[in-house]
Amino acid sequence: MDWYRVQALVVKEFLALLRNKASRMVLIGPPVIQLIVFSYAATFNLHNVPIAIYNEDAGAAARQLIARFQGSPYFSIERMPKSGRRIRDIISDKKALLVLRIGPRFSRDLALHRTARVEVLVDGRNSNTALIALSDVNAVIQAFSVHWAGTHGWRATPAILVTRAWFNPNLRSRWFIVPGVVGLLTLVVALLVTGLSVAREREAGTFDQLLVTPLGPWEILLGKALPGFLIGSLEATLIIVVAILWFRVPFMGSVLALYLGLFLFLLAAIGVGLAISSASATQQQGLLGVFLFLVPAVILSGFATPIANMPLPVQYLTYLNPLRYFLIILRGVFLEGDGIAILWAQYLPLVAIGLVTMTIATWLFRRRLT
């Protein structure tokens, strides 16, 4: 292997990528915009959910309960219907996600030390949002209930729940999502830089020119892989810095453990990209291949929904996905303070995936030569 020749090819690849203004913009602009937009948008914590309260009770207790909902950042009371007939339309027309109904005997029951009932009707069209909203409603009413029991001389229940969350005490889903977005965007950039690189030359006819140079197949592949590495690690660093400084996601672990993970993940992702590129004859096929890999890789990575919820055969499938391991590394290093020692089980599969895909890429590359 001649490093001087590889270096020349790397320079040529960078020129091909960065010469065109549009493709330069496309490499740098969208990832940063996406990081900002998605990190703000992708949250499971509810905020300002529109609700309606149908209050049939004239007493002070009901007013106190409503005041708690008014003071909660989770809800914004959009409507106070005067009759029960409007409830159905309010929910089905999406004017409110839920309707809280306080019955006419609410204050009287509480005054008589009897359990008072509150009814909640929720729009189940998005069942996850419905579940979160229900648990927020329960939390508000629970707080009211505990306060009432304490101030009005009710007997305590035998046991109470004292809940704490480790690593993320306020259960901010942004802390979970932002490290995930780092992995997601790194994968997108690495695949796009490498996935079309061989196919582009084939389509433009410059592939044959490349073959008559003194470069060997390994040198050509290395020359195609290195720009992906450089651009991928630079963009990942930029995104990590934004995650820490802008989104204030705590960074508890070691930088070394993170960059070892990033290096191995890029190895695997670039291997996949080069394999797709070597297999395709046109850029359109290359792009389709990138899509067909990227879409399932995002879904089956645990980025938005946990892998443990998937059926068992699908869970086995996720072991082939490099993003799965990198997300565990990212979240472990950011939130749990993991070091290299605890992450071995994630590094080794990435090495294996990288070696296998690189071998496949070389094989496909050679096969296309003959």
Binding site: G124, A159, P296, M310
Partner: protein, 371 residues
């Protein structure tokens, strides 16, 4: 517009689709594979969550509470002797939560009451942690009720919440995820079908041949839209059949409204693809823009998984230009709630505006000129 020329152009595009199987693969194989993968891969229903049970001083009381966790389908409990071992299991990710009863639990519970039940959850996946806490609360509440029955004293708490969920009473996450997935997948397919088509013609130079023909720019664009529209509707029909047959999602609304909305949505997706490829004229850039502006926004900004009301206001405004947002809401309403016209009419109007915007913009920026 000359009908004969138009027919000729449509025929040319249709032949091109038939002879290049990659478009047909995008329209039919992709929705099939993606819907299967997504339908099984995306689920927010936690089952068999591994949790650690620690009782510092085991008694009949503590094992009574623990048996509630053992019988629940949501948990797969493991008993640990002390907190040190349980803590290590949580750190290593073997369990997602710890239930911890202190040594004086039984004495306090039988005496003055309000004995603390320590719950420590791994908060890294915040959403999952909240769902697990909800399940733990359920087990705790039914244990309290059982205790009260045993002692013959009715359990009296100040306020009791009765909740009812409309349109999806069992809270099956599949029932709302699958209609949303159809919108995400169709966004991807609609844009992919057209995004690369015009860019490829520019790259190959065959656009020049079309320019030299007597066909007007409107005829060329309509000629490209019509065959891909039918191809996309075929993919849409396949997805709806799969949602009903494979995933058993009930379709409460009517089929014709569904296809009317789908047709309108497909026009926005195809129009966007055409706009991208007209601007880019280069397959690499067109592909990159299609990826960045279709799949990820449809996944994250459409309200398909993440609630739009909870986003900060600049992003809430941004979601209004994402066509998938209106289609996700329409599909979830049509599948689960029925023909709720106030919601559907609002969404269809928005889709119509977006479709007209894309198609008019494409027609305006496409000149019959080579520059």
């Amino acid at each position: 517009m000359n009908r004969q020329r138009l027919r000729g152009l449509i025929r040319k595009e249709a032949l091109q689709i038939l002879r290049d199987p990659s478009s047909i693969a995008i329209a039919f194989v992709m929705p099939f594979v993606l819907l299967l993968l997504f339908g099984y891969g995306v689920s927010l229903d936690a089952r068999h969550v591994p949790i650690a049970l620690v009782a510092a001083h085991p008694t009949a009381q503590t094992s009574g509470l623990f048996s509630g966790f053992r019988q629940s389908p949501y948990f797969r409990p493991r008993t640990y002797a002390d907190m040190v071992a349980a803590r290590r299991a949580l750190m290593k990710g073997r369990v997602d939560a710890i239930i911890w009863l202190r040594p004086d639990f039984t004495r306090t519970a039988l005496g003055g009451g309000a004995a603390p039940v320590g719950v420590i959850a791994n908060g890294v996946n915040a959403n999952n942690a909240r769902i697990i806490e909800g399940y733990i609360q359920g087990v705790w509440a039914s244990w309290l009720a059982a205790q009260a029955r045993e002692r013959g004293q009715p359990l009296v708490v100040p306020v009791d919440v009765r909740s009812r969920v409309w349109f999806n009473p069992a809270l099956r996450s599949h029932d709302y995820l699958v209609p949303g997935l159809i919108a995400v997948i169709m966004t991807l397919i609609g844009a992919l079908l057209t995004a690369l088509v015009v860019a490829r013609e520019w790259e190959r130079g065959t656009m020049e041949a079309l320019m030299a023909s007597p066909a007007t720019i409107t005829e060329i664009l309509v000629g490209k839209l019509v065959p891909y529209f039918f191809l996309g509707m075929g993919g849409m029909a396949l997805s709806v059949v799969m949602a009903i047959v494979v995933f058993a999602v009930p379709l409460v609304g009517s089929l014709w409204v569904l296809f009317l909305c789908a047709a309108l949505f497909l026009l926005t997706a195809l129009g966007m693809g055409l706009l991208i490829s007209t601007i880019a004229r280069n397959q690499f850039v067109a592909g990159m823009i299609a990826l960045v502006t279709t799949y990820l926004p449809a996944f994250i900004l459409s309200g398909f998984i993440f609630d739009i009301h909870s986003m900060p206001w600049p992003i809430r405004i941004l979601t209004h230009i994402i066509a998938a947002r209106y289609f996700v809401s329409t599909l979830q309403t049509l599948f689960l709630a029925g023909d709720v016209w106030p919601v559907i009419a609002r969404n269809m109007a928005a889709l119509a505006v977006i479709a007209v915007f894309f198609l008019v913009t494409v027609a305006r920026i496409s000149h019959k000129r080579l520059d």
